[in-house]
């Protein structure tokens, strides 16, 4: 098979070779076909993407590279194309697939260019494997779905508005709370939800936890553009910028954790040996434990193993222990004691500490809220108890807290033993 390409401007003699080399450098598969559909040229990428050797393709019709289901119809399209040749994409708006030698199909994007040669018209078809892009799109779609799931999962009504103040998303709770259906809310302005009778129902500031680090990032980064800052001031602003970004990152991670709660429900229950679990948690918290010089004691004599979802129980241990250390009283060695009891066919876990404690009379109803934190200086954003409550409840357990300011906190978790 020999084709004559129009001579390239500079090196006429080696023009053909150069052209082939050039084609082989392209990231896409390039296939040239005659009006009857026979393939007269392929580049290396075509072999790689479709898994055929060059010899297997040359002389075949282009349809060999397409799934059987649209081989016929493509034959018809091709004939039309040669009547009215022009540069165009194929199947704009349609999902196109290529078919490999092994029969597997993958998403592609195909464009066609007409080309005049000494031997008559040919069409050059460029085929791009868009599996990666499709995967990325799918990932993004899933991420969005996850966020929507999360928003439906929170106890509060959440309404997302765009810059114009139009509602673009509402969660299930919004429907219940505002007694509108989703379709009625989407596209209308936020004002629809703000008549007097709805005030004070929803006075949490969930979004504030995104908005404050973002405001800090905007503020500090615009300060950093001021030429009149001295070195010290610049350092302070850089540190502020850094810590705000870290804060935002943590919030996003936390959200991710909440989302995982939903996805892990399919995970298998297993026998979890508590002393071992505690050791794993201690290993993961080793820096915090060392820094605060925390001491952890435990007695698992009455119950030493629980049949449960390990990752959840791990999460519960992890959150409660790290909370106890983070909310220790300044200057006092954090002591944490964990014990289990078996009472009335119930497994009870006690986590007690000697930390700052919480004023339950003031904060009882907010105890398990998302992003509630009771101690301004401690690190963290108040996610721990919310997560712990969710995890406990998913495992069929109950959680309660006893605490006294400046004495300590005890978290009691009960599971039915089977």
């Amino acid at each position: 098979m020999k084709i004559h390409f129009p001579p390239l401007q500079e090196k006429q003699v080696s023009g053909e070779k150069d052209f082939e080399n050039f084609l082989n450098f392209l990231p896409d598969a390039v296939v040239a076909v005659k009006p009857d559909g026979r393939i007269i040229l392929v580049n290396n990428q075509t072999e790689k993407i479709f898994g055929y050797g060059r010899e297997e393709l040359l002389g075949q019709t282009l349809e060999i590279l397409l799934p059987e289901s649209y081989r016929l119809i493509h034959g018809i399209h091709r004939s039309t194309y040669f009547k009215y040749p022009r540069v165009r994409g194929m199947g704009t708006g349609l999902e196109l697939f290529g078919r490999k030698k092994d029969g597997s199909e993958f998403p592609v994007e195909i464009s066609l260019s007409p080309f005049e040669t000494d031997d008559g018209a040919i069409a050059i078809s460029t085929i791009r494997d868009i599996s990666d892009r499709k995967r990325a799109e799918e990932k993004q779609r899933k991420a969005q779905q996850k966020i929507e799931e999360l928003l439906n999962f929170t106890p509060d009504a959440i309404v997302v508005i765009n810059k114009k103040g139009e509602i673009v998303f509402v969660n299930n709770q919004s429907e219940k709370l505002f007694e509108y259906r989703k379709q009625e809310l989407i596209g209308s302005t936020l004002g629809i939800l703000l008549p007097q009778r709805f005030r004070n129902i929803h006075n949490e500031h969930q979004l504030d936890y995104f908005q404050s680090p973002v405001a800090n990032i905007i503020g500090t980064s615009s300060m950093l553009q001021m030429p009149e800052l001295d070195d010290d001031e610049r350092q302070i602003m850089i540190r502020g910028l850094h810590s705000s970004i870290k804060q935002l990152d943590e919030i996003i991670r936390d959200l991710n954790n909440i989302l995982q709660v939903r996805n892990e429900i399919s995970e298998k229950k297993e026998k979890v040996f508590l002393p071992e679990l505690l050791n794993e948690v201690k290993d993961d918290l080793v820096n915090l434990i060392k820094r605060e010089n925390a001491r952890i004691t435990s007695s698992f004599d009455e119950v030493s193993e629980i049949f449960t979802l390990k990752s959840y129980l791990y999460g519960i241990f992890y959150n409660l222990i790290s909370n106890s250390i983070k909310y220790g009283r300044p200057g006092i060695t954090p002591l944490i004691d964990i014990k289990t009891k078996n009472e009335n066919s119930k497994i009870i876990l006690y986590f007690s500490d000697n930390g700052m404690g919480i004023d339950l009379s003031k904060q009882k109803n907010q105890l398990f809220g998302l992003y509630k934190k009771f101690h301004p200086q401690a690190e963290g954003k108040g996610m721990g108890l919310f997560m712990t409550k969710i995890q406990t409840e998913v495992l069929g357990g109950r959680i309660r807290i006893e605490s006294e300011v400046n004495k300590g906190t005890e978290v009691i978790i009960e599971f039915d033993s089977y």
Binding site: H205, D208, S212, A215, G219, M223, L229, I236, P376
Partner: protein, 135 residues
């Protein structure tokens, strides 16, 4: 142009407070700025500092709303019960990241609140405050 002698920033977020200090300095030059991450401490400071002398000049308080232990609303409640001598020396601006219209409405309804500022604080806002008072 009124004379502002001091800014008092009350916010549990130290990054915001550092930012406020710098923005204020950049807007009006050298001026006394006190920042508090514990609203309780800020309140105590105001109570003692402003009870002694009926000063001619004004101090500006930049008050966050969403704080643990004592929220901005609680602060405002307690502020209202203070002596007139103290109150007339102070002008409170809410400085919050909340864009919730109900927060704005509630702040607007409070007679001790001069205006509501959405974070981040900028030089321009400080200039407005120090020139005529916003709103």
């Amino acid at each position: 142009m009124k004379s502002i002698s001091r800014f008092v920033v009350i916010d549990d977020d130290p990054v915001n407070n550092a930012l406020c200090k710098m923005v204020i300095k950049m807007a009006v030059g050298k001026i006394d700025i006190k920042t508090f991450t514990l609203p309780e401490k800020g309140f105590e400071y105001i109570e003692t500092e402003y009870s002694k002398n009926g000063n001619e000049s004004t101090s500006v308080i930049l008050l966050d709303l969403n704080m643990p232990l004592m929220s901005g609303w609680e602060f405002l409640e307690r502020f209202d019960s203070l002596d007139e001598i103290i109150k007339k020396q102070l002008e409170i601006y809410i400085l919050s990241s909340s864009v919730d219209p109900r927060d704005k409405a509630r702040a607007g309804a409070n007679k001790n609140v001069a205006d509501y500022i959405v974070k981040p604080l900028t030089k321009e806002i400080i200039l407005e405050i120090s020139e005529e008072g916003r709103g």
